[in-house]
Homo-oligomer: 487 residues x 4
């Protein structure tokens, strides 16, 4: 069963899929560290559940300190040192970042969340920050040792993240050459980051998404002695990704610095989301590989009817079938990586390639996460009764997968935004042009006409019936791209 | 949106699907109790996690006492009093039992597990127990007050439950007119039951499933003063069904009573599994309804883009589509109830109807559980970020669904056993004969030939390719049966 | 061992100590309910740990709902119905209240905290509230069914509770004929009460305790539709008293109603503390009895060296010795009850008896709590290794005792406040006059002169050396009072 | 407040008490590691609660693997490498071991338990093991790297540890030149040790303690491939010392090797207990220092009435008073260390010095633990309300102290065994001879006659009244020894 062997190592799988792997030795060392150290740390942290927040120190000073497991820091800092953030800006390429993320998230999908939001803080600062702001904050985010600062990207409020135009109620008031933000962020990943970007609405700005702006918010106030610039109301008791503390953040006259023009915030916000949506796809695919690798290890050591169960025809067939789909999912997700790598430094107005990227990113995020949840469920079933026990870890991947399916936009969100970029920017035409290089003409034509049929429907009906077509478009694109990667 | 309203109440849904509901007032009272009391208790118990077992009392006597939440007893005893077990034997019908289970499991899927295994203890005792055994134990299992005994069905050992012939290593040794059992049961639901049925292998019996026998094992030894007849090694930390303590049981020269002939044990074991497999299907369908009801309540109160999200076309379409599938799943599960109700008192050699039942039960168990997991996942996505938080309860249904998907046989098991009953007993012909009364002829013919194509393959290939056909057969049968129920 | 038998029942112990017990049948019923129902509920709640707070409902509305175990309500409402609050005001006597508290806290020391703070809300409202305020709020606090409102007494802020003059920073601003409060309460027992009394500082009032006032704060705002009038920042993870949710409360322009004159707040605050300090003493004594009762039950069933360990001379001696001290502690605590019952309706300027009460209350609170912690520790040791296991419950009483030792003022606080009332009000002279009726003259004289020696020291030295004398005074008074009760 | 400063560092305190500190640099490095790394790890482990045991691996093989937090290993291995075990045998002195233990247990009292029981395994092996047994097992226990084996000392069974003669029911049956043990150990610290010593009763041996023997029991069987030689039934949910997994152990025909003569087991058992009883005293004193250090840190940063509370006279007086008692307790505990260091290689029949050691060890164990619990309680009170919150860690020391008070014998045990060694071996005469060198003659004489009065009482009365005299003897000896150390 030669082909299933690539499941056991993220790096081997990457090698089997990509023509060349930059920084191969770095990735090999990363994988080795995870195998020998990281896996045990990650397991400990998952079992330990949600960390505590200590709001006040003994003297009664508000500190909002998060009480991690001590070794969480060890695990977290490893990736920063390896360059999951600093390489992107130093090497002017996202490829090393996403290769690292694939490798790391095979072992711990959650820890890529802090990396992603740190990247999502550094990039807009580097693109849109004034020289002074950059000088003041960028070096800390790009440090190569354990004193590196972490970032965070806080958009969502209690009203929900789908409809940001209505949901963001945080107000920004000018204060000299800076701003003051007041509001509550509800799903604030990497609470306690040293520097965050936050969406807010400058006083007097128009309603809806057009009135949003993006701000930089440091953890501590500038002129006072170490007092907090924002507060962590509490950490949320999530079902997974215990490697990242997600909290509710209170901004209370918090010092903030505007990034980019005040009326272009929505573009900056979406650029930040691009980085995390692609990360989500990559991590989802790595999770598929991991769940399959665990199922494989189990199926090789578990015996029924006189042989290892991996040798029973039905199960073997499922493994092989699912491996094929894994390759397709990877191809689609990696296509979104490659496209993003080409457009991530664009500013509005954007190129056509940017819109193509957006469509591919929606397809990839949607489908990779669906497939991850489905595979995690299947891997639990392979484990039989042990799959339902906290003790054996198989159940963890389904919890992690469900977070991936929901974060950075549920399936509904991906479909509707995908629909929008097709209707407004004709992004599907760019996609079909791209696929024309690799897909059989007849199949492509059928896919095109099916999609066109959808797009021609009246608005409500179009939205109602979008799911099936969107799914087929994702699968079709993935399969075609995989075929190309396999050649 | 009249049709979605039936989602809110299990009894209303049952009314919309069944021509008549025996014991309607009883079910209405049951539902009312759950709405006003049980829901809160069930939530508390789920949050409290795995109960403790106290092995020794203060004087050092082994007691293996399970420290439930106090109100667990309140919730548990309710269903027994209502007759989830005693009615089956008193009214000689399983219909009231499964109607109660549907109603109850809408609120707590786990608590139906104790009921099912208590039924699975009472029924073989009533069918196969000697007059003396029945006189000694049956009245306690059928009591109508809170002193009722609970049963348990312990088959699986650490080697796994799929291959019982190899997996059951518990040995039974004759001891006068009783037996002594020694071995370890691994997934022992309702640990601490007053009376269990357990699979064991009489010394000297042939290997494989033919060498198994079924025994009755009381919690306490007969002639000694209250000393334990089996031991609870520990409770397992499951991801869900906290309403039932599942443990590892040590049988150590445990007093036991043979049920039926010593060489027919495998038939008795399968008869017990019939009861729980059908329960599993019914509970799975109720869980679908519950997850949808919660999603609906959320979607009605949550606003985005200026309206309740249930009014967004994509989401509304999903609700309506999924409601249709829920009806199909119910029709298939209920067909297995009706068939079981006709054959549950049969003994080997069985009728043709019994084999038809077996096929339908495999199809229903497989597909209802798949659909339950998928719907629970979707309901989490409807909740957006809140779906990933322990606080809001949406994530519970996916945990519960995964247990349903695995218990009483994973999908692999259902497919392979379904295949077997088709090959050995031609059960599919009976199914098609049944469907011929209601299904369009052309569709039926296509389904038949597709299945026949599978059955004609060489053994390994047949098994390898079984999944897709088995699924289509389940969906097809469900849809046809649903159409009939709707008329 | 007849005398140890009174340990087993709080009511029997009360009967052995008090000449008559009003409402005996009520107390007997209360005890019976706890024995048969409450004990199991209390154990469940302790094991379940700190309850959750759900801050937002599904629609995103802030609700600050506390997710108790469902049966917590059953246990909690029992005492309210029995009259732990309403009887005090209806019968114009605190005796029934504290008799109920003794009986109840033998089974659950924590649940008397909600009762006490509800009483501490109703009493100042009844004494100092305007007719309009009383009409609006008092009936709800005195309801005799499960719709009764709960109260809460929120004084302490993050700066600590010892130095209220410096610690209370919550500001009260006039708003028409009501007030608006803004500030953070740190140890807010019974978070989520329908009505609280809170200490705050009216704008412009003098610094220190003289600038404090006491306000009534309802849970919901008046004119808006159900919106919260205060917020629960979080529940605190205490080591015990899981029967009461203690939180951090955010007052944010919270509607409030002044009680009494704005410049007499500190008197009202101290009157509220009187109620809870006495409750604390009574509960501490009941906890001693409970820990001893559990140790006795253990020592009777556990065997070493051929007999139950209760029959080993060292242990039997300890039981008998400790029972004597329990009687003394009870006598002192009950003296504080009787005195409070005589003075609780006084207003400033207070009588001499009020100052005597204050001294006795400090002595009783200090010493009963010390003895409770010591006895709980000893009871753990009697249990041997089992005493260190969560499973057997012996360790719970030490956790509970430590909360009693710290709440309502640590030992330091009792000593210093006791010292103050002796110096300022010569309360010790009143005490010695009282003791002269019952104590041997010579012993009394020695005690007086020892105390006088302390009071004559320079201030810092007096404070430094207060502990030993204060303790001796407590023990001496207790022993003398106990002798009288025994007659 | 110069003198309180020694509280902050265990090594500084040792320096202030002992004329010379061997291996000072080693201890300094150990302390430094704990300050910078260990403290955080220890806190994480305490918060994480009881570790899990995974009984079966995925293939269904019984493995009884304990799922520690990953970094637990880091913390644990540190002390072994530093020589807490190997130095004792290599340097033929226990002084370095107990110096290390004092230093380490200031930071984590629990981790000294594995060290102690490993020492308690290595020492009897080195004293009583055959050359072959030593060659086979000793090197692993004395390794200086992370591959070091751990030991364990399993005596107690469910019947309790006080009356070992009746409590040990584990049976040893000869099997060639080895033995097979069958029985259940109830408080088995360091479950999963590679090598344990266990008390058992050879078949046919006399009843009572004279019939006990001591055996070596490895974790894995010799001739089979890695199969377990004993089983961990479960880990116990203790209130503290989360740094050591304490389990219930099932010996089932476990391979075992006799240590020493079969009829002298009780002597070997007591020699093992000597090592741990002295460790318990040393750790108790270190815990006192730690609790005081934490209270000091708090009292320095917390303000009331306008100054840090440490400057309030009452609190300052308590600190100073308690520091004096700490020095006394240390002197007594260290006297037991020095005496043990002189007698630990003795074999029966023992010298007089050995009996003196026994008395001092009982006094030290009793009183150090009492003082530790009292100080931990006081330190919580110093923290005020924060002392009752899990968040601030003050409550941990009381939990830890209670385990110290109970393990290695409750106070009752120490008194009765102390009484016995005075009556049987006249050990008090040796103690008074020792104290005559340093104590004022008059005080000594009073102490002697008070003790003699007790010893002259009839047996039951003597036991009943032992406590007060035993306590005074402990305090008196401690104070005298402290005076000497201070000179």
């Amino acid at each position: 069963m030669a082909s299933l062997d690539t499941l056991r190592s993220p790096l081997e799988f990457l090698q089997s899929r990509l023509p060349s792997i930059p920084h191969f030795d770095l990735l090999a060392a990363e994988q080795e560290w995870w195998k020998t150290e990281g896996v045990a740390i990650s397991g400990t942290i998952d079992r330990a559940g949600t960390p505590w927040v200590r709001m006040f120190d003994q003297s009664g000073r508000r500190v909002d300190e998060i009480l991690y497991a001590h070794e969480y820091e060890t695990m977290l800092r490893k990736g920063y040192r390896s360059g999951v953030v600093w390489r992107a800006l130093e090497e002017k390429s996202l490829i090393p970042t996403y290769l690292l993320m694939y490798t790391i998230s095979f072992y711990d999908p959650g820890v890529c969340c802090p990396y992603t939001v740190s990247l999502g803080t550094a990039v807009p600062l580097a693109k849109y920050g004034s020289a002074e702001l950059q000088a003041r904050f960028l070096p800390q985010l790009l440090r190569k040792d354990d004193s590196v600062w972490q970032g965070a990207t806080w958009m969502t409020e209690i009203g929900g993240g789908s409809d940001l135009g209505a949901g963001v109620k945080t107000v920004a008031r000018p204060a000299g050459d800076t701003w003051r933000l007041t509001g509550d962020k509800y799903f604030a990943s990497n609470a306690a980051a040293e520097l965050a970007v936050a969406a807010a609405r400058p006083e007097g700005s128009p309603p809806g998404v057009r009135g949003l702006a993006l701000f930089l918010v440091p953890r501590y106030r500038r002129n006072e002695d170490g007092s907090l610039n924002y507060f962590i109301r509490r950490l949320k008791d999530k079902i997974a990704t215990r490697s990242v503390p997600t909290g509710e953040i209170e901004l209370r006259d918090s010092e903030a610095y505007l990034l980019g023009p005040a009326d272009a915030g929505i573009y900056l916000i979406l650029e930040v989301l691009n980085l995390s949506r692609v990360a989500n796809s990559v991590v989802s695919v790595a999770l598929v590989q991991r769940a399959m690798a665990d199922a494989l290890a189990y199926a090789e050591c578990r015996t029924a009817f006189g042989k290892p169960i991996v040798d029973l025809p039905l199960l073997r067939h499922q493994f092989e079938d699912r491996l094929r789909t894994l390759r397709s999912a990877f191809a689609l997700a990696w296509e979104s990586v490659r496209l993003l790598d080409q457009v991530w430094m664009e500013r509005p107005p954007y190129s056509e390639r940017y819109h193509l990227f957006r469509l591919v990113a929606h397809l990839a995020k949607y489908w990779a996460a669906e497939f991850a949840a489905d595979t995690a469920k299947w891997a639990m079933e392979v484990h039989g009764g042990l799959g339902t026990l906290a003790e054996y870890g198989a159940e963890r991947w389904l919890r992690e997968a469900m977070i991936l399916a929901i974060w950075e936009g549920t399936p509904h969100r991906q479909m509707l935004d995908g629909l929008e970029v097709m209707e407004r920017k004709q992004a599907h035409k760019l996609l079909f042009a791209r696929l024309a290089e690799i897909a059989p003409a007849q199949e492509l034509k059928e896919m095109e006409s099916e999609l066109q049929r959808l797009l021609n429907l009246p608005p409500d009906q179009k939205e109602a019936e979008a799911e099936a077509v969107f799914r087929r478009l994702a699968v079709f694109s993935a399969d075609q791209l995989a075929r190309k990667y396999s050649q």
